[in-house]
């Protein structure tokens, strides 16, 4: 009998309903539905955050001593990162195997063991179940059955890896080792900032973003917008497109580095280009207290800006002497938590430390060059309502996701989507 039903449109695995429009081949189009759908957000939890990825958990310095722990998240999943007495770092879900309550309630702490508050089941520092209250009942009544084995129950454990003091974890057994995942160039650039140094946290802030997490990740990888959206930078010659520098995109597309260093010669020449473009960057705006820009060349290579990201949601920032880690955590389709950890090093001179505090004004929720980034994702989230059948256009600088010498490109944004599509199959 002939089949008169039209063939059903192929439903990407993990989606509850067909997408509004198919995702075109190539890297230059991103359908807006990817920022709007609950089923996409659910798919990301398993395929991205708990998939073939390494996710930043915390600084090694935050759990320096045996028994120190840090409660954090991997995607939306609560995780404990713990230093055990063997000196190693362990990570496991912060979820009691009995009935699912959080094992630890504080963000930070020091523990000999963990005891769930609900019915007092207890765990060692590696997440092994070690005690069940009233296991043998009371006065011969109740208790767990004979066949119950504590060793058969433990919260899911994660692989962990430490890179220059950064603790990463993966829920995947098959993801390549972290060094391979990052690639040589990214490893080197992390080492440039953190290698051999003793980190000291100097502040911690959480910024709530009114948008999908991917809009923030796009933004932080978008080297094209910096001098156009952030007037502060361009006015004070921190980050013009004509500076020396460039963009590194890893093979997978997922990791990137954007960097720049002052190039006085090119600057004079290109000043004309800016004027000719009539870009909203021309002003006579001068600082009353320019000491905020008098940073040191602390890494000795003249690089004034290095923004490095690791797929999916990790950022290492050097903007002059303002150093920070940003952790991007989805909180639903249209909300994101951005956790900032400002840091310096134990051996900072008082002058350098003060400069970090001063240049902290450049970043964070009130940052001269980052407050716009906190709103612009929301502008997109609101702008694309009703446009789930439309696409964003990512053609600046070509169609590929390769490293380049210019920052007038969307190559690393395309790189993100390359890695994202490989992970999710969308």
């Amino acid at each position: 009998m002939p089949d008169h039903n039209p063939p059903a449109a192929a439903l990407p695995p993990g989606l509850a309903a067909p997408p509004e429009v198919p995702w075109p081949e190539g890297l230059t189009r991103v359908p807006y539905w990817v920022f709007q759908r609950e089923d996409v957000a659910a798919l990301e939890q398993t395929q991205v955050f708990r998939g073939e990825t390494w996710n930043y958990l915390c600084l090694e310095a935050e759990i320096a001593n045996p028994g120190d722990y840090r409660a954090t998240t991997l995607g939306g999943v609560p995780i404990l990162a713990v230093r055990d007495h063997d000196g190693e770092i362990y990570a496991f879900e912060n979820r009691c195997v009995h009935r699912g309550a959080l094992i630890a309630l504080e963000d930070f702490g020091h523990a000999r063991e963990f005891t769930c508050v609900y019915h007092a089941w207890s765990y060692d520092l590696q997440g092994n179940l070690k005690g069940v209250a009233f296991k043998d009942g009371i006065n011969g009544q109740g208790g767990m059955p004979e066949c119950f084995r504590m060793s058969e129950h433990s919260p899911r454990k994660l692989r962990t890896a430490v890179v220059h003091g950064l603790v990463f974890a993966s829920a995947s057994d098959t993801v390549p080792p972290i060094e391979e995942y990052l690639g040589d160039e990214i490893m080197e650039r992390i080492g440039r900032v953190l290698g051999g140094r003793e980190v000291e946290v100097i502040g911690r802030f959480t910024q709530e973003l009114p948008n999908n997490w991917k809009l923030y990740v796009e933004n932080l990888r978008d080297s094209y917008h910096a001098s156009l959206l952030h007037l502060f930078f361009t006015t004070f010659e921190l980050n013009k497109l004509n500076m020396k520098g460039g963009l590194i995109v890893s093979e997978s597309g997922g990791n990137h580095v954007s960097y720049s260093a002052i190039d006085r010669e090119a600057e004079a020449k290109a000043a004309n280009d800016y004027a000719a473009q009539n870009i909203r960057s021309e002003s006579d705006y001068r600082l009353k207290d320019p000491s905020v820009l008098e940073g040191e060349d602390e890494f000795g290579d003249g690089v004034t800006l290095q923004i490095l990201s690791v797929f999916p949601g990790f950022v290492l920032q050097q903007i002059q002497n303002a150093l920070a880690i940003r952790q991007v955590v989805p909180r639903g389709v249209g909300r994101t938590d951005l956790h900032w950890t400002y840091f310096g090093f134990k051996d900072d001179s008082p002058a350098l430390r003060k400069m970090r505090l001063k240049q902290g004004n450049l970043v964070g929720p009130a940052g001269y060059v980052s407050m716009e980034d906190g709103c612009v994702g929301g502008f997109v989230q609101r702008g694309v309502v009703g446009a789930s059948d439309r696409h964003a256009v990512l053609e600046m600088g070509g169609t590929d996701a390769a490293s380049t010498r210019t920052r007038a490109t969307e190559a690393s944004v395309r790189g993100f989507w390359k890695a994202y599509r490989a992970c999710t199959g969308l």
Binding site: Q207, Y285, L357, E372
Partner: protein, 154 residues
């Protein structure tokens, strides 16, 4: 320094920000002031960084200039509601006070939200004209979270 003078200065400070008279905001501070916005958690842990960190009146003037000329954000305003200042004994450096605040944020589209609660930890000093000026204002927000951005000062 009497509590009434400090309360009057606090009231003028709040009105200055809430009525968008930001150009006058640095005048509440001494030349070598310290102004910092942080959170209760950072304060408890002794972390020195701020969401805003300024150690001169010039930096506060730059803040205002940046908000007016450089930064891009949706139009919004604040409504400060201040509690009563708690004054400490006057010391050699001036008078210290602690004042609780609530700040609502009113967005361009009319949405009003409780944006921040916290306390001002202040150090007041008389200027030549006998008016109290802020030598230090540490703004300690109760929550560790900031919604979207913090553009206007607290």
């Amino acid at each position: 320094m009497r509590i009434t003078e400090i309360m009057a200065a606090q009231a003028r400070y709040a009105r200055c920000i809430d009525t968008d008279a930001l150009e006058a905001w640095p005048d509440f501070f001494t030349e070598d002031c310290l102004y910092r916005i942080t959170t209760a958690e950072n304060h408890r842990l002794g972390y020195a960084a701020g969401i805003i960190w300024a150690d001169s009146r010039g930096m506060l003037e730059d803040r205002v200039a940046a908000l007016r000329e450089a930064n891009i954000y949706e139009r919004h305003s604040y409504r400060h509601v201040l509690g009563l200042p708690l004054l400490e004994e006057e010391g050699p450096e001036g008078v210290r006070s602690e004042t609780p605040f609530l700040v609502a944020r009113i967005m361009r589209d009319g949405a009003t939200d409780l944006f921040a609660t916290g306390r001002y930890l202040d150090l007041w000093r008389m200027d030549e004209a006998g008016a109290p000026k802020l030598a230090e204002r540490l703004v300690v927000c109760d929550s560790s979270r900031t919604d979207t951005l913090l553009a206007l000062p607290l």
